[in-house]
Amino acid sequence: MSILVDRNTRLLVQGITGREGEFHTTQMVEYGTQVVAGVTPGGGGKAVAGAPVYNTVHEAVAETGANTSIIFVPAPFAPDAVYEAAANGIELIVCITEGIPALDEVKMYRYVREQGARLLGPNCPGVTTVGEAKVGIIPGNIHIPGPVGLVSRSGTLTYEAVAALTAAQIGQSTVVGIGGDPVPGTSFVDTLRMFEEDAETRGVVLIGEIGGTAEEEAAEYITEMSKPVVGFIAGRTAPPGRRMGHAGAIISGGRGTAEEKVRALEAANVQVATTPAEIADFVDLALAAG
């Protein structure tokens, strides 16, 4: 039940001895995630937050049965870490690293699929199945368990939306940050499909932003869904032609505007909120109606 990660997730942390790797490993362990191993080449034999460190993913998987990996490795080396995970049988790879060149992302996307694995990210905050496992950097204490799945292209905006749901006493099943890079390993549609099939999830919140056509593609799939979806699009006031940060958020050639996305979602019967607080209101209504 729930999607992507749960109680049975056996997590490997790649780049576990780095500053971020170590900090967030502790946070994940505190949340209750089963962190079974870490990998840092040359760091074999150490331990971080109780997890043994290995030199290679091969060794880590052989020794601990890890099935999921999270990557805190700097951008120039992160694709290599993703490939190592995928080649060694890891089923879900969550890549937190930002700043990976787009041409590397093209290859990562293709290779991980070929290996029959799933990539979440890169440049994403990870995934949390509330009360079961946190594989990422989303603050653990903002969640309460419940029936709403959430999927977002954004990092901190995801937290904002979760906090709004929690403030309204609406619990979450799984919260998924797919990342805002040009070639994400997992799309809105991939995630919506999982939520549609998940027995624990009764409704979904989709947090989009300007740029690209991911929200439009999501809208197309949503018309086939049985569960209600509530939307939110960041960047309604962003001027065209200016790239809003690393998020790949840019309105170019009149495409990728918030208006277009809102229109596409509304055409798919999605209520689109204008403030985070309104997300909670719309979800309340949708669940009551459902």
């Binding site: 951008a75 990092g155 904002e160």
Partner: protein, 392 residues
């Protein structure tokens, strides 16, 4: 990161793409000499990171050296769409028989690099896409193989090329793909790829945009950055690892995360205010970055209030709070400020602010509303509101 036309031409030429001769000139004298050297009619083109140079008067035809000098005098030192022109490119005026558009782009939908071409070159491709989408031909590089010659030939045939032009076009397309992949580009565009008097295809104009994330692999290209074409505060921000885009409003925003930054701007607007900027301090914001961000925001004289919205994940609110307190001792200018901290170590962050006699708002709505009130001059903001102003 954008390259200038003359830099893009040189890059293409290094990869074997046929580019007509041309010289960069930083003065009217140099332009005159370049025209004399090239001979005949020349075209003088502003080197500026902006489209629509022609319409803006940045491209002029000159009959000879004297006219080239005159044209350069008219163009150099002006601004096109707000960007200063420090150099012109002097190139022979081509006898154009046919104009083709061809580019390689990072294609999000196809999740690979795609070629886009049209037989209607020489004009804005977005206009072509809007008015005659059927004239646009696309082909996608397979990640295993890269772009292949058969794809380039097929595009050539679809564009209606024949005879030697098919081979020539295919050869040029393969080289443009090489330019793209070997330099981590996100756009390599030739418009027009023109059939000139000799019958040969030549790249008469070139635009190259590089993937900033790939620059660590191409130090020599990173060195080509012309910061004169960017807002000075955006340049400073980039150097500090901060994403900053200057806008026209009065409320300076400091947020962690691009999505939340945009949502914060949207909220400001919703409450009737106008954001002065987009600013994402990035993942693990340090005290130095907060200080830098604050100074960048305040360097905009339009800024009348500052809104700080941090939802900590990688970023830790205690670090941010320390940064704010420290920054306030060093900032160049003082304006009212509202802060909202949430997420990782938020409570400790709020305590730090409190100890420095700064209070924080509890929600995004609240902090946006407060920021707008500060600017709209509602000085009667009730004291019990958790507003922290650093104004003297």
């Amino acid at each position: 990161m954008n390259l200038h036309e003359y830099q893009a031409r040189e890059l293409l030429s290094q990869h074997g793409v046929p580019v007509p001769p041309g010289e960069v000139a930083a003065s009217a004298e140099q332009a005159e000499a370049a025209a004399a050297c090239i001979g005949g009619q020349v075209v003088v083109k502003a080197q500026v990171h902006s489209g629509g140079r022609g319409k803006a008067g940045g491209v002029k035809l000159a009959g000879g050296p004297a006219e080239a000098r005159e044209a350069a005098e008219q163009i150099l030192g002006t601004a096109i769409r707000g960007l200063p022109v420090h150099q012109v490119l002097v190139a022979p005026a081509a006898d154009i028989r046919r104009e083709i558009y061809v580019s390689f782009v990072l294609d999000r939908a196809e999740k690979t690099v795609s070629l886009i071409a049209s037989a209607e070159g020489g004009v804005d491709i977005e206009e072509v896409a809007a008015t005659s989408p059927e004239s646009i031909v696309r082909a996608h590089a397979d990640p295993l193989l890269g772009f292949q010659p058969w794809q380039a030939r097929e595009v050539a045939f679809r564009l209606g090329l024949g005879g030697a032009h098919v081979r020539q076009f295919a050869d040029i397309a393969m080289k443009l793909y090489e330019v793209f992949t070997e330099n981590d580009a996100s756009l390599v565009e030739v418009n027009p790829l023109a059939e000139v008097g000799s019958g040969e295809l030549q790249a008469l104009d070139a635009k190259v945009t590089l993937d900033d994330n790939g620059l660590f692999r191409h130090r020599h290209l990173a060195a080509l950055r012309d910061t004169s074409q960017e807002d000075p505060s955006e340049v400073r921000a980039a150097q500090a690892g901060i994403n900053y885009v200057k806008l026209d409003g009065e409320i300076g925003c400091m947020v962690n995360g691009a999505g939340l930054a945009m949502a914060t701007m949207d909220m400001v607007k919703l409450y009737g205010g106008e954001p002065a900027n987009f600013l994402d301090i990035g993942g693990g914001a340090t005290a130095e970055q907060v200080t830098a961000a604050l100074n960048i925001i305040l360097s905009d004289p339009n800024v009348k209030a500052v809104l700080i919205n941090i939802f900590g994940g990688i970023a830790r609110c205690d670090v941010v709070a320390h940064g704010i307190v420290e920054a306030l001792e060093h900032v160049e200018r003082r304006v009212p400020m509202v802060v909202r901290l949430e997420g990782t170590n938020a409570e400790e962050g709020r305590r730090i602010l409190e100890n420095a006699h700064l209070h924080s708002a509890v929600s995004l709505s609240e902090v946006a509303e407060l920021a707008v009130r500060l600017v709209t001059g509602d000085a009667s903001a009730p004291k019990e509101l958790p507003v922290s102003t650093s104004e003297a």
